[in-house]
């Protein structure tokens, strides 16, 4: 499990798998103002990227892993 939920923030650790997408989506539906902390994330499966793009949550921290951050930023801030 790469997701840890703290009140209004979901903290992502390391790798988000394809299964996590469903969990992330559920949580975002229940928490429309939820934030995502991606700082520890090293990779997320494309399904998660898709969920993030559809939900556009606030990102409280971008991944420290620069190439990943660049792509996610491009996807979420066109």
């Amino acid at each position: 499990m790469a997701l840890e939920f703290k009140k209004v923030t979901a903290v992502v650790s390391e790798q988000m798998t394809v299964e996590d997408a469903e969990i992330l989506l559920d949580w975002l539906i229940k928490h429309p103002r939820g934030r995502i902390n991606l700082s520890a994330c090293t990779h997320l499966h494309a399904a998660n990227l898709q969920v993030l793009m559809a939900a556009r949550p606030r990102i409280s921290a971008w991944p420290r892993h620069a190439p990943l951050a660049a792509w996610i930023k491009a996807a979420l801030t066109p």
Partner: protein, 791 residues
């Protein structure tokens, strides 16, 4: 049906037949490599054909079969019994699909998605045999080209102009510095997540791009409706990576990516009066140029190098011309000449570099997508799709299909069964009315029930009619195969035949139409084989050398009538008499007595075949009796007329629909039976005194005609006397058997009812004399007699 689909079906059937034959041969000679090669090629060809249509199930199975055959051909897997079995099984599946497509009579192939599971299982079984042989090949799902011709990513023009000018400048500089920049568009297929793919991972592996964009191919739905596992992402990037490397990276999913090498921008071409090339042209130009570069990059030196180089030169000249650039022929000729002389591509490569560097080229980077305004950052999807230069049948017809609803046959059948039960159930109401009156003495209620019954009856009949209409299909469905069949058969027999078909749009119930197919083929073959003469024989008889075969269909009241006539030699009644006598079908007295027409009708007798010699067409004496029985099965009748030397005419008359049967209920030996009304000519009462015995057979005279009589109890082998009424009159049911009438003495004739006739099943199925059974409104079961078989 569109001609391409038609061709596909015809060729498919041929190929499948050959595959079947070759597989069986290969079982005998498993080491025959030529046979093996042919088998592989056949499967391969069929797979290629299926790919032209949207038939993912068929393609999937054929693809697996092809892979297996490939392994067998290369000796990676022995050809053994399991391989043959699996392949035969797979080909049966494919044939069934082809038949289904052939049967659909639609312009576009029908959706075969419901066979998806079978296809998957078959493909897995085939690949299972493969996997046992070699564990190292990439898995099926990876290498399999998308079974559905996946919609290729739209070859949009690159809206580089739409990019921020800072990035444009940077790109220009890098291009001028010679960096191999490529524009990549990657649209992962929707189901890719289920195949274990992670497109984002693919993208991240490419390294840092100069520019990137991630977007969705559709608008995002509200979050609650989002399907997280249906991928609708689009990745775009401009990368400092050679096109070949990108192609290699995406080699398993080439149909999901578009890779366009960028070239440095140039001043707009002033020399050309041509309009700027459109997106598709530019794209094609780039692809062709890239290919020529790759060819020129080859370092081998084969004997055909000179020709290859000349072809490249021709191609380059054409490609530049296609975007409105006329190249200097002299320079190209010179480059070609020195390349040829030095056995090296380098001079041509130099020429190409020069040609591109000179910037004469109308550049892709300057091209706007057709019809899209330049400031349009993300062109709307329809603008991304290049204007289709040609319209192709399939798509256009798909759109036209909008007014027609395609319904699964099973659903219509269910409706049919339901209305059948409704008809039966409504028949309970008159019983109920009678009981109301007789048992409970409420005449008022009985009348009301009868009135309601009248209304329900009318609605039920209309519903039945409406459902029947759905099942109607044109006779052309079975006739369409005849032009080919007649042509091929006639050719085989060395005869000249013109086929004339009339009334192909006449409609009848699907079951009737289907029941017609085999008898018709047989009749037509008979006609070609025995009826029509050879050209020489015809001209000797003073006829045109080309024989004429006519198949006409029309509706006559509630029946559909099909006539097959030829202008051939006709049937010789004397020869029939002789043959029938020789075969013991008739005795000496009949030999004299039979009229010509009666003699001709003998061809319907079981075991009669007029063929002088067994021909490979009509086979061994499968005669007209088979035809007559097949037609009789759907309550049809056959009449044969023939004029010696003039020709033969067969007239098939069939009901328009066979779903509901009107039967008369009769009583005999204390039981009730049904007799189909279309067999009943009339019902009469015959006084005991009017029944005579002539030659030990019961007869009576009806309207001046002698009618033979039989008792039903005799026919049913019951040793019970028929019961007359109080006036000592017997109830007689006069039935038609062919052209004859026969009186069947029963105890009583009752009302007629509509029933849904169900064939007898189980142990009873073999019981002759019964057409089937039906459920009556009062819940009892009625056995329906088949007078023809009873006799």
């Amino acid at each position: 049906m569109n001609p391409l689909l038609d061709q596909f079906i015809t060729e498919g059937r041929d190929i499948l037949q050959t595959i079947g034959e070759r597989l069986l041969q290969l079982e005998d000679t498993p080491d025959d490599s030529a046979l093996m090669g042919e088998l592989f090629r056949l499967v391969h060809t069929l797979k290629g054909n299926s790919g032209l249509f949207d038939l993912p199930e068929m393609t999937r199975v054929l693809h697996a079969a092809e892979d297996l055959m490939d392994a067998v051909r290369d000796g990676r897997r022995p050809f053994d019994r399991p391989v043959a079995d699996r392949l035969l099984e797979a080909m049966d599946f494919v044939l069934a699909l082809i038949d289904e497509i052939g049967d659909s009579a639609e312009a576009a192939p029908p959706n075969t998605a419901r066979h998806a599971n079978d296809a998957l299982e078959l493909a897995n079984a085939l690949r299972g045999l493969l996997a046992a042989a070699q564990a190292t090949t990439p898995t099926a799902t990876e290498t399999e080209p998308a079974a559905t011709p996946a919609p290729s990513p739209a070859p949009a023009a690159m809206p580089l102009e739409a990019l921020p000018s800072r990035i444009q400048q940077e790109l220009t500089q890098r291009l001028e510095a010679g960096e191999p920049l490529c524009w990549l568009t990657y649209e992962p297929e929707e189901e890719c997540f289920f195949k274990g793919e992670d497109p984002f991972h693919q993208i991240l592996q490419l390294g840092e791009p100069c520019w990137r964009r991630v977007s969705s191919r559709e608008d995002w739905p509200p979050l609650a409706e989002l399907d997280a596992y249906r991928c609708i992402l689009r990745f775009e990037a401009i990368l400092n990576t050679p096109a070949e490397a990108l192609h290699e990276h995406f080699r398993y999913i080439p149909e999901q990516v578009r890779i366009i090498p960028l070239q440095p921008p140039a001043p707009t071409s002033a020399s050309s009066s041509e309009p700027p090339p459109d997106a598709e042209t530019t794209w094609s130009f780039n692809v062709v140029l890239e290919a020529q570069r790759e060819i020129l990059g080859l370092t081998d030196n084969p004997p055909w190098l000179s020709g290859r180089l000349r072809a490249v030169a021709t191609t380059l000249e054409a490609a530049f011309a296609s975007i409105g650039q006329v190249v200097e022929r002299d320079a190209l000729e010179q480059a070609l000449h020195s390349a040829d002389a030095s056995h090296s591509s380098q001079p041509l490569l130099n020429w190409l570099d020069e040609q591109q560097r000179r910037g004469d080229t109308q550049l892709p980077t300057a091209a706007s997508p057709p019809g899209a305004p330049a400031e349009d950052i993300a062109p709307p999807p329809e603008a991304q799709e290049p204007q289709e230069p040609i319209k192709f049948g399939r798509r256009a017809e798909d759109r036209l299909a909008g007014h027609t609803l395609k319904v699964d046959q099973a659903k219509v059948d269910r409706l049919m069964n339901l209305i059948g039960e409704m008809v039966v159930t409504k028949n309970a109401l008159p019983y109920l009315a009678n009981r109301a009156e007789e048992v409970f003495g409420t005449r008022e209620l009985a009348r009301e029930i009868k009135a309601q019954y009248g209304i329900i009856n009318r609605i039920a009949e209309e519903m039945q009619d409406a459902i029947m209409q759905i099942r109607m299909m044109p006779v052309s469905f079975v006739l369409q195969r005849f032009p080919r069949l007649v042509r091929d058969t006639a050719r085989k027999l060395g005869k000249e035949v013109r086929l004339v078909m009339e009334g192909e749009s006449t409609e009848a119930d699907k079951n009737i139409i289907e029941a017609l197919a085999d008898p018709l083929v047989h009749i037509v073959r008979n006609s070609l084989d025995h009826g029509l003469e050879s050209p020489a024989e015809r001209s000797a008889a003073g006829k045109p050398t080309e024989g004429r075969l006519t198949i006409s269909a029309r509706q006559e009241s509630d029946r559909v009538v099909i006539e097959i006539s030829d202008d051939g030699r006709g049937i010789d009644p004397d020869r029939i008499r002789r043959k029938a006598y020789e075969r013991g079908l008739i005795g000496e007295p009949e030999l004299e007595r039979l009229t010509d027409q009666e003699a001709i009708n003998l061809v319907f007798a079981a075991g009669f075949s007029t063929a002088e010699q067994v021909s490979d067409l009509s086979g061994r004496g499968v005669g007209m009796d088979v035809v007559r029985n097949a037609i009789a099965c759907v309550n049809g009748a056959v009449e044969l007329h023939s004029q010696l030397g003039q020709g033969t005419r067969l007239r098939l008359s069939l009901p328009l629909s066979m779903a509901v049967t009107n039967v008369m209920i009769i009583e005999s030996a204390g039981q009730r039976f049904g007799v189909p009304m279309d067999r009943v000519a009339e019902t009469v009462r015959v006084a005991r005194n009017d029944i005579r015995t002539i030659k030990r057979r019961l007869t009576t005279v009806l309207r001046g005609r002698l009618v033979p009589l039989v008792t039903l109890n005799d026919l049913l082998a019951l040793t019970i006397e028929q019961v007359p009424n109080d006036d000592d009159e017997f109830a007689v049911l006069v039935v038609r058997i062919g052209a004859d009438h026969l009186g069947i003495i029963v105890d009583d004739c009752r009302e007629t009812v509509d029933i849904i006739l169900k064939p007898l099943g189980g142990v009873l199925a073999g019981l002759g004399g019964y057409a089937g059974s039906a459920l009556l409104g009062d819940g009892s079961v009625l056995l329906v007699l088949n007078p023809r078989e009873l006799l």
